[in-house]
Symmetry: D3
Subunit: 324 residues, 6 copies
């Protein structure tokens, strides 16, 4: 028993029908001779950069003083070429979009622009490593289950997401289009943590567990900030213009000052919301306005309904000595 080969005869017709829907005003095809950045290549770039940022972990476990120079040099050389190509694709595509999808532009040397951006990106690796070393330290200091900084580099999803964000954020600052977002969405997929590459985040940043964390594009986050899983730093309503179109580019997300801790599933919304330094936002708290420095905000007396137990519902309120 097998499939009937005569039924396959209708497949070419099916193909024609599908192909006929790939028209130029179709928003979900990208045909033509100006290829988009390659998602696979962008992910490879990330993996290569991580090999340089954290030598000896993950992909290559036999690095030592005698070979590390060769390892890094080879990666830098390859990254130069890959970044140049992909950034050039992104720039060319952005140009077309801005010019309203005209033909592929051949008068502009996007490769030269891409190369300049690629080299600048590579120059920032040393500074990136300094920044990321503070994040590792923050993770180690902030998690009682953590025994060595090696563990953080090895398997903390929060650190993974922050690493990718910091890489992507450098590209945002270099005005590289598309690719930063591709990077952070890859990290989102890997970790469940969604940090927009446009956000501004200070050193010693730590996200524990992290699944469900969302950090919006226009957030400002200070130093020594700690977030737990499920925290949303989001927008309130989006203003629209006279035509009902969303107004893009405003500060829509909150500011978190230095040394703030935000516990699991807390939601902080709004571009004018400022959480003052050294504040603590309790688990599941929902805030849409500013909080003065040094404030602790927790859910108070959740109204719970209890059945089938003799103890009064009141007893289910948070302990008096609750200390976050």
């Amino acid at each position: 028993m097998a499939s009937d080969f005569r039924l396959k005869e209708q497949l070419p017709e099916l193909t024609e029908q599908i192909v006929s829907t790939y028209t130029s005003d179709d928003s979900i095809n990208h045909l033509g001779h100006c290829p988009l950045p390659s998602y696979t290549a962008v992910v490879d770039i990330l993996l290569d950069l991580k090999d340089i940022l954290y030598p000896g972990y993950k992909r290559h476990t036999n690095l030592h003083a005698g070979n590390i120079r060769y390892h890094v040099g080879g990666l830098i050389d390859s990254l130069h070429d890959q970044l140049t190509t992909q950034i050039a694709r992104a720039l060319r595509h952005e140009h077309r979009v801005l010019q309203n999808h005209k033909d592929c532009e051949t008068d502009i040397d996007f490769e030269a622009k891409g190369q300049a951006m690629a080299i600048e990106m590579l120059k920032r690796i040393v500074k990136l490593r300094e920044m990321l070393a503070t994040d590792v330290q923050a993770a180690h200091d902030g998690d009682p289950a953590c025994q060595t900084t090696d563990e953080v580099v090895f398997c903390y999803p929060g650190f993974e997401a922050i690493t990718v964000y910091r890489i992507a954020h450098e590209l945002v600052q270099l005005n590289v289009p598309f690719i930063p977002r591709m990077m952070t969405e890859w990290a989102h997929k890997e970790t469940g943590i969604d940090i927009h590459p446009g956000a501004t985040i200070g050193e010693y940043f730590f996200i524990d567990h992290g699944t469900g964390v969302v950090i919006g594009e226009t957030c400002h986050i200070g130093k020594h900030v700690k977030l737990y899983q499920g925290v949303t730093l989001g927008a309130l309503s989006f203003p629209t213009d006279a035509d009902g179109q969303l107004i893009r580019g405003q500060k829509r997300h909150p500011t978190i000052e230095d040394e703030v801790v935000v516990y699991a599933n807390a939601t902080i919304l709004g571009g004018r919301t400022v959480i003052g330094r050294e504040s603590v936002i309790g688990s599941s708290v929902w805030i849409t306005r500013s909080v003065s420095p040094g404030t602790t905000v927790v859910l108070e007396k959740p109204q719970l309904k209890v059945r089938g137990s003799d103890e009064p519902a009141d007893e289910l309120r948070p302990e008096v000595n609750y200390q976050i």
Copy 2:
């Protein structure tokens, strides 16, 4: 220093012990000559379908008018064979389960049935593309951080999850067993968004960020609906029959009418719950009963406890001009 090879002599005995536990009434082995659908093949089918739905993104970035026909035709041909094989496996397995795990059925031509379903599935691609184009548009219109529809196709996890759901839902409608769920669980793994393939969802659907979203099997979702991360459209308690067995197949999940927005971490439960059209459900709201059309529901006056700050707790309530 190396491992002692004599200690390895006990491994064959270990193997025997393990193999002896693979008995016919063991729920966690699947031995025999009726193979299950291959998870890897099902994922490959999804990737191939996505290449047809969104030509020029992801895996193949050099498609143009001169080669697109060949690209699609080759994929359709291959998909026909792969779908036929995997659907036949799923049908044969379902038959065995329904017949209470008898021997492998050889009198029924599951391949012929599989082929018919496979071809029908391929015929629906054109309609699927129309539907998915509305979802792309909804994402672009609903996210101020989105600059082009290309970004949506490229890296929006919500759109990824919706794509897989819509594919899987077509298979559900064709009565293909097992495979739809394998597909949406793959998307769940990739995006953190868990949409049951049995759910019914209208056009222009948008999920932003998306991690933690759960959409149950019997949900009905209208057109132009927008969900944020952490939204649960779930069931209340499950009714059981006289024997304490769960009663399966009832409508257990809510109905969301057209143009509803549900903000982050809101929870809407129950099969009789209907969120009326153009309603807005605020962030972290928890609802188990119906809401009339045009209603805005937000958390009011969260009881927060504030310490270490001079401002009164009352000030922490939502701003008066809060607009979602």
Copy 3:
């Protein structure tokens, strides 16, 4: 138009700058001749173990009585070698960390220790299978959308996370360092479910949907417990010692007794918190103290603000006949 090769001449200098930052007191490099466990190898070990635990699913779909012995025997042989190598690496690294990063220890036969642990781990597979069979049953019995136990093994992310946890937990009990955490973080990435390998969890455990679930290191979970997505079993504040250092190793996470159900997005915090047997914790509930056995705790009367609708806000409170 292409990149200018002369600009590449600065890359070797860049390489030197980066390499010069890889110093011995740098927390984010691991150079030297004592390699860390290989992440890739650890993932391969997990995949091989899953092939033995659930033969006939996933990677190999043609197993039957005539070849299963060979399949398992080959995997056991390979796992012996892989586990020995990776555990030895982990032990050697732990030794260095405990000895404060001295040179690579060569006087201790970590391979012999690794082999003993590897063989012991393999001996526990039979018992693991018994335990996991109860988890499959729990998933089937607890999900009305589930038709066969095959589906659970195939695509339930909760079951995936529990499988990896149970494997990693055995390694924790054997005092294998680092590797258990690498395993559960891999599962975290795959499923969005973060179970610390040190947690204690009884049989018939079920996590539905699961994205965002966090189960802390010192949790004690009884038998027949069911969790939904977004549930946090976490810590309250962490006590610090006189130097402000976190005190590690205390029970910081709650105890969940037998037959408890915790609905979506509930948060249970604190090492002294005990949820008594047969209790039900409702969706989005936030608890930091103990609950007697048989208690049902739900959100009562959420204060919602409703606009644009004629019905009173009060009507939005949970239905009277709400039954979880």
Copy 4:
């Protein structure tokens, strides 16, 4: 500078032109739903068989008493399936050719026939190993540069070619079409030794160096025969029938009796030519008729022309004490 994409517009037309040449009476296409045996699969079968014939060499170097059973069992199981499929394809194709290229035959169960042949082939492995062990011994005994029998298995091309020949010859005896020739041509490519699978060759066979050796379809070779590189055991002229068509199936190649040695580049032609036992055929000798047992045949007095040297050409004749 890059290629001009407008020039690519002529490619679809080119494709059409090429495809239009794939007609049914075209001898160099094979289109339709009866696939030929897969060359790749046939090579994989050879590699798997060699792993069983010579365990511990080549692909798997860590085999030992504790895992060899699993290794072999897994290969046998896989070989059963692969051989069955490929033999069935070969039988179906032969049937079509014999029936003069009619449609694909579906009334005959070629899979059942293929399976029977596959199992019979696997049953012959033990006997094949006995035969091949004699060949290894012959290589070791016949080559002064050979130190261990391991070297023979590892890297002697003559032994490689003989191994493949002996496998293919068993398939010839089972009346498997096409595949034996595919196998020996693969060996031909690997070693430069072309042994027709139809030839009959006794035990203790050794080919040294081997490049250029040709052994025709109807050769009969006895035991303990040794050949060197470049030896041809070929046909004289081919008789044709009244229509000028070659008469196929006659004995066209020589018979080599036991314990004969044939040195490099010797040529022995003709179906009635018999080289009697214990004969020695010298290097570069060219023979088209029979030789009695015990005969040594060498080139005598090659007429050489010598210039630029004082010594007489006569001195260039073979040494008197020449002993092969």
Copy 5:
């Protein structure tokens, strides 16, 4: 016991020593920004071309009327790009060599030239197929062991070598440098048959067995010619100019007219040597001058020395009725 890591410290010094030998006047390095054609890419081009020339064999065994167009179209599109790139590399490299290794030329658009040549090559595929169909027929008609033309395409090394030669020869005619020779040397490696791509060979060409065949650059071979293994169509001495440099570009190899047969290991040398039509050159014959049409040339009365046999040496001469 393991290697001593301190000894590895000398490796960087070793690296420096090796790298210091890569100087610009070193004939065995190719460093710089003008890459050579990629050997791997050239082989891929060959494999793709063979898939088009002989659809349904080798790599793709499931081609049929419903998918062949897509298969070929995809290959043609990809071949266009691959050929363009590799030919451009070859042209640029040739330019540098002719200009005596100056810097990489950037003023000439080698890609445009490469594209023109690539498209012209693709246009010749139809004619190539016609030519190769005659070669298949010749193999079938010339080998009594051959049952179907399928076998020829599948596994005849002579046909493989001729196929590659005919492809490469087209490129020679298009003045593509380097690549044709890379192609025929690949075929040489695969088959032991070395046909220079510059040779001229008519239709219905057949090489049987083939190992060791050498066909020189300036050979002219007519139609219906058949060669056996080990045949050399080579040069006599090479004339040198006044400086002792080889004079390149002269006709140095023989002419073989139509319907000639050359048996195994025959050697035909010299640019002025012409083998007249319908001649037969016997096995192991060595010829350096012309032969009239219709001539049969065989070794006569080889002087053999026979020992240990009673029959006279004379009897070893070729049979009277010897017919080649």
Copy 6:
């Protein structure tokens, strides 16, 4: 129609039968815990060494001054480890063979010996490159069809074989067992040229075409020697001792002095045979004794039999002005 699964039930029994033949006195299995060198690893070593010897060809075509150091350094580091491991395996195996197959020796540190040999081998790369540069020059100067030295490195099989021989010969001089032969047999397979790694060969060595060339273990070849395809530098009869065992280790192959040319298919045999400097050995000549310096040896007056032509057979003798 498919294979009958019940017939597969006999496969485990078949497996047992095969495994039972793997006994300790069986010459064609290698079971146990002392693995042989890995053929795949040895080939990888060759490919890596060739990347260092000829940078910029074959596998890596984008090497330039800015990355070559990293490329080579990475390869050297990896080669150190690979060579150490494989040489240690070879030494351990040789030890067992010499000790008559006792258990695996664990008291000797073969890894330390292997490492010393590996480093010594790497130190010889610079000298190897000097030697091989002379071979490239010889190929270019000796082949009128050769336009640049690049072609030689790229695709001349003779140069490929010489490269591998020179690498393997260095290992022979370091007393590395087994591996040199594995290397040259790989080259034999690739090129049809069989050079024993024990042979001694001077600089400026060239083999043209090369298929079928055999160079024996005890050959001595001077400088500026050129060989053509099919040349055998072989042994005469092998002396045996009183027990009839081959006496191994004597000089059995000829000596070829400087600036000798040997044309296609010539055969030179015997350990005492010396071809004096600047001699020329003609095509197909067969020599078993020494030739004075400056001698040209060609086939004279081959006795040919001509039929069907009017011209006298005598005319077929070599031209008077024949000059090799």
